[in-house]
Amino acid sequence: MPRIEMPQGALGLLILKVLQAGPLHGYAIAQRIHLLSEEVLAVEEGSLYPALQRLLLKGWVQAEWAVSETNRRVRAYKLTPAGRKQLHAELAEYEQAQAAIQAVLRGA
């Protein structure tokens, strides 16, 4: 299976997106992204935690300690209202850019 490096800046958006469904802990976030991308995108752990700290700092996610299904103490990340707003904004922006790129690619 080919593994593709995450494009710059996209990781934040993907994290916000997978958190939309509900709180997840770090490892689960990485797993979810990996699975949803049909095992194409691999989230390097080295970039996941700095990205999570950044989101915490911005106030877009909140972290809470919880107990995982394997009975392990984990930190679960939850989308805040600000984070939800940010997600919508970033999605809209992304779709706009995507459409524009598509248009250029088709036309050329």
Partner: protein, 830 residues
């Protein structure tokens, strides 16, 4: 918001990091099933924590603790560096402290910021003081001020003949500036602004202690001043601080001045100065007060058309400062302050350059450490930051020590200049700002440049070292030139014949104008005085002159050249021992004749015969003689010339009688005083030995020479230590090189060239720069040089000589070591 959260992260940092570690451990555990690596946990955690943005703080902490460890490891170096810096910064701060209390800090009186002072000014004339009519007019009409205060100084004769200095002040003086009494009462406006009541006085605390043993029963006692009974009503508090502080023994109401000084005419006189102050009313500004005074002067001009000058106004200045400098004084005072600052900065320059060399040598010694750190991934910026942190630590220690040093230095300087006791160097925001500025500059010079150099790989370091050496030499030479100029000027003033006799003469100053004399009566007074004094035993001669030798009065004209103008008796030249070089002096009762000095003749009629020429600007006055140069007013100021005219009744109103003694002037002083008191008992002339005047005139030069010499010696010592250090270091570094040269038969000269030859250029350039700067700025000192040229070659050569000698002594050790290097030993070195 982001900042708040970031701060929150900083405060809860420990917990955050622990949580992150735990979280990552969990992640690793869950991943462990798949058996994949997680990488270096610590590194990952650090990267994640970097997001908080506090990583720099960690690094600073690391650098500081590393720096402190290093400094602790080499205590001798640290001590030297801190000491050098403390001297450099301390000297500068002391100077600033003095400036601070003298110019920027008001004297501690009540609400000092709303006190203003007035002086007189017109397009043609100016005066530092106003007059009683001014005071009275302002008091009655000014609305921008709530109170008008004034004082007039005068010397009075106390009971037993002792002279005391008195201040005649308006009744509101003490209440306005917030002065209280230690015993009895102070003056007050209701009781004391009345000329009809019996005279009263308030004693100073020091007079009370010295003369009356702090006896509280003094209150109510009657003392005699100028022979008049005066009731003591109180004693000023020990802590009382006067406006424009000076040594004052007692205060009397201004309204009583005419009662004590006969013929005073103070109330109507436009010639007797009073120093005028006011308290601003409510929210009025100094500008508004000045505008109002301008309008009031127009009104006053209508009442006194002859006495108020054309276009007169009263410039307003802050009143409650030790020195309030007006625009005209600025031209004189600012260059002196500038020069003084430059000189103390020289000491800092020497200190910094010295320390720069130390730091550079140390940094080079750590080359191996730096290359190891670079090899394991430290960037150049990181290394520079490390070095700068160390410099900053040193600077902080040095500044702290400097502040302590400057406190004592400032106190010493204030005490040495005889400043009033309330003047204390204090640590205020200005001093704080200046110390911070100085230490930042110091760090930039001695820390930053060596750090840049040391971390630059493979590059000659000798240029920077040369720069440091040159800067030291330049600053040191500048200081040495200045101090030797001042010392030579002083020596000359005190030892070389000034062109007139200061040893056998004394002066009698009756100040007749202040006692209501007119031209005719003044002439009669002087005739009588001349006759009585001439008859006295031990008197060799007497002569009246308008400007007392080395007195405070001055009359000059600038046309056609700068000339001091004297109105003198014909025998003035004999009494003062000023030789007539050509022609003759004017005769008794002769008018239309004058005598000029040699320098005047040379400048106005170069190459011509001055005799018979008409004096420029005075029709009908012919030059009949040429006298030798005699700078009796501004001692040895070679920029001026002299012209002498016969006395007139008008000039006699302010003239002085010069008395020449056959022996020592002290021996006739008492007789002269007795005689001159008897001519008119109302007039009590001041008797002064010209020699004492000379000492007073040279006082500022003396303290200036002393202070600059101290600075010079300090810079010289610092530079000597610096030269020694740098030479010793170079020799050590080049031991191998020298050893090889000796082994292949190099002569001693060659060894010397290698050891210290590299410094020839920087030393030369530095010396040239220092001498050049000295030549450029020394003209500012002209007034204190007493005729020594600002370009005096002896001073310049002397400065270079002294510096050379000290540097040579400092070099002896290292050079001897270099010459003794044995090749075999040198090759084994390292």
């Amino acid at each position: 918001m982001g900042l708040l959260r970031r701060l929150g992260f900083l405060l809860r940092r420990g917990r955050m990091e622990r949580e992150l570690a735990e979280e990552m451990a969990a992640h690793r555990e869950m991943m462990g099933i798949r058996g994949e690596g997680f990488g270096n946990g610590l590194r990952l955690r650090e990267e994640a924590a970097d997001v908080y943005g506090w990583a720099w703080l960690d690094r600073v902490r690391q650098d500081v603790s590393f720096g402190l460890r290093l400094l602790k490891k080499s205590p001798v170096f640290t001590l030297c560096a801190v000491l050098i810096l403390a001297i450099g910064i301390g000297v500068n701060l002391s100077g600033f402290q003095v400036l601070n209390v003298a110019i920027f800090t008001p004297v501690p009186v009540k609400d000092p910021h709303t006190i203003i002072s007035y002086s007189r000014r017109s397009p043609q004339a100016s005066s530092g003081g106003a007059t009683y009519p001014h005071l009275d007019f302002l008091r009655r009409h000014a609305r921008t001020v709530s109170a008008v205060m004034a004082y007039r100084s005068g010397d009075l004769t106390f009971d037993g003949g002792r002279r005391v200095s008195a201040r005649f002040v308006t009744g509101n003086w003490f209440t306005e500036i917030g002065g209280e009494a230690a015993a009895g009462r102070v003056l007050n406006a209701e009781r004391d602004d009345d000329s009809r009541v019996a005279p009263v006085a308030v004693l100073s605390h020091s007079l009370w202690t010295a003369e009356f043993g702090s006896d509280p029963a003094i209150v109510g006692r009657i003392v005699r001043l100028n022979g008049k009974p005066v009731t003591v009503v109180g004693v000023a508090a020990f802590a009382f601080v006067d406006l424009k502080p000076s040594e004052t023994d007692l205060w009397l109401p201004l309204e009583q001045e005419p009662a004590l000084i006969e013929g005073s005419g103070l109330r109507t006189s436009f010639e007797k100065d009073v120093t005028l102050f006011a308290r601003l009313a409510g929210d009025s500004t100094p500008g508004a007060a000045e505008e109002e005074a301008r309008a009031l002067m127009l009104e006053m001009k209508k009442i006194h058309p002859n006495d108020i000058w054309d276009g007169e106004w009263l410039p307003v200045r802050p009143g409650a400062y030790m020195a309030s400098i007006d625009e005209r004084e600025r031209a004189v005072v600012y260059p002196v302050i500038g020069l003084a600052s430059a000189l103390v900065l020289c000491v800092l320059t020497v200190a910094c350059a010295n320390l720069g060399n130390l730091m550079l040598a140390r940094a080079l010694g750590r080359a191996r450490e730096f290359s190891i750190r670079a090899a394991v991934g430290a960037s150049r910026g990181r290394l520079i930051r490390q070095l700068l942190t160390e410099s900053l630590l040193l600077a902080a220690l040095g500044t702290a020590a400097g502040i302590g040093l400057s406190y004592w230095g400032g106190r010493y300087m204030l005490a040495a200049t005889g400043a009033p006791r309330f003047l204390n160097p204090a640590f205020d925001w200005r001093v704080g700002l200046v110390s911070a500025g100085l230490s930042v500059v110091a760090v930039l010079v001695f820390g930053f440049m060596p750090a840049l150099q040391a971390t630059r790989t493979a590059r000659s370091k000798s240029r920077l070292r040369g720069f440091f050496v040159g800067a030291q030499v330049a600053a040191c030479c500048l200081l040495l030139v200045m101090s030797s100029l001042l010392v030579r000027g002083l020596v000359r003033a005190l030892t070389v014949d000034p062109g007139f006799d200061t040893v056998h003469t004394l002066t009698v100053q009756p100040a007749l104008g202040e006692h209501g004399y007119r031209a005719e009566s003044a002439r009669a007074y002087f005739d009588e005085l001349r006759q009585r004094l001439s008859a006295a035993p031990g008197v060799a001669g007497v002569a009246a002159v308008s400007l007392a030798p080395l007195g405070n009065r001055m009359a000059t004209t600038d046309r056609p050249v700068r000339t001091v103008v004297y109105d003198a008796d014909p025998n003035y030249f004999e009494v003062m021992r000023i030789p007539i070089r050509r022609g003759r002096r004017f005769g008794e009762g002769e008018t239309g004749a004058c005598v000029v000095s040699e320098s005047f003749a040379q400048r106005v009629w170069p190459g011509e015969d001055p005799l018979g020429k008409e004096f420029p600007g005075r029709g009908g006055v012919v030059v009949v003689g040429v006298a030798a140069d005699a700078r009796t007013v501004a001692l040895r100021d070679s920029s001026t010339t002299e012209a002498y005219f016969p006395t007139t009744g008008g000039s006699l109103r302010s003239s002085t009688m010069v008395v020449r003694a056959e022996g020592r002037p002290e021996s006739i002083a008492a007789a002269v005083e007795e005689i001159s008191r008897n001519v008119d008992p109302r007039v009590r002339p001041d008797i002064e030995l010209v020699r004492n005047n000379l000492e007073r005139k040279t006082e500022s030069a003396r303290s200036g020479a002393l202070i600059v010499s101290c600075l010079g010696v300090m810079a010289l010592l610092l530079a000597a230590v610096g030269v020694y250090g740098i030479a010793a270091y170079t020799v050590t570094q080049q031991t191998r090189d020298i050893g090889i040269r000796v082994a292949i038969g190099a002569p001693a000269r060659e060894v010397l060239r290698v050891a210290v030859g590299g410094f020839r250029m920087p030393v030369f350039i530095g010396a040239v720069c220092g001498l050049g700067l000295a030549a450029a700025f020394s003209a500012v000192l002209r007034r204190e040089l007493f005729g020594v040229s600002p370009l005096d070659p002896v001073s310049y050569a002397g400065a270079v000589g002294v510096f050379g000698a000290v540097a040579a002594v400092a070099l002896i050790g290292p050079v001897r070591r270099a010459l003794r290097i044995a090749p075999a030993q040198a090759l084994r070195y390292e």
